[in-house]
Symmetry: C2
């Protein structure tokens, strides 16, 4: 009886850290093993965009390494350890200012992780991941999903596979 309780406690102590490392509220990892970066909603902004082709608004932000590189103008290439995040919303016209387009439904949060050694084999030095919807469901059926990301980013290969230019700030 004592041993059974002890085993349960040991089991719990093993489970809890795994959930803690998985990021916000134990969100499931992407099919390539990448975890949703914890606290990404608190990261500083690198830039924003309004895609008028698919009617979405975007914030692009970065972890400490990415922000430091963006502010120093050292983004081609971005340094190892940089993580770029992009949050996407459907657009709406603001009720109190109809000539302003603002975010409505949350669509997804997607990330690029830079590590020239770890992600050498795919030819980019980056790895991609996306979590979809308010339930933050990992995108992709298996690890092959990132081929879609790489294909879309190939036109910006010469800017280290990144579409974003850091916005001007004082």
């Amino acid at each position: 009886m004592f041993c059974k309780r002890l085993n349960i406690l040991i089991l719990l102590s093993l489970i809890v850290p795994v959930y803690a490392a998985a990021g916000d509220a134990g969100v499931q990892a992407a099919p390539n093993g990448l975890e949703l970066p914890e606290g990404y909603k608190d990261w500083p902004v690198i830039s924003i965009s309004h895609r008028i082709d698919n009617h979405t608004l975007r914030v692009i932000f970065g972890n400490d390494i990415a922000i430091k590189a963006a502010r120093a103008g050292q983004t081609n290439p971005w340094p190892d350890g940089a993580i770029l995040g992009k949050v996407v919303w459907k657009e709406t016209a603001k009720e109190n200012w109809p000539k302003a387009i603002a975010p409505k439904e949350f669509v997804h949060a997607e990330f690029m992780f830079k590590d020239t050694k770890a992600y050498k084999t795919n030819g980019t030095g980056w790895q991609w991941a996306r979590w979809v919807g308010m339930e933050q469901k990992p995108f992709g059926k298996n690890a092959e999903f990132s081929k879609v990301c790489i294909s879309c980013h190939t036109p910006v290969k010469s800017s280290d596979w990144v579409f974003t230019t850091p916005a001007q700030l004082p």
Copy 2:
């Protein structure tokens, strides 16, 4: 001679803290005495917008108190101590994705400071300030400039004088 040097040292010790309190690189205070909040570029995002009337893109972010309130949905009224910041850029079409509108020249950074007691006399509980251009020059010839801010914000008096609705996030 000794006293003169001592006086200079005392004078310097009085001047230096004033500059240190003035925020980023000693930016001049607004005509109403408000200081540019130090580190505002690192604040988390509350929302963004694209004004198609004057062709500008905006990020709205907040200090710790504002972010906590935004995420808790407690923004009418916003709590005392909340500071909302808005950075404005002129728009441009992205070279690598022409159907995406992105920031170009930095226009200004403007702020709303909530303190129901300190800013009771103007009837809003808020005080406003703006720093213009990359040189971050304070907006307004004298403290009366905030009448312009209040006039523009009067249509949103019922949402605690704030245009922004926090964007949906998981």
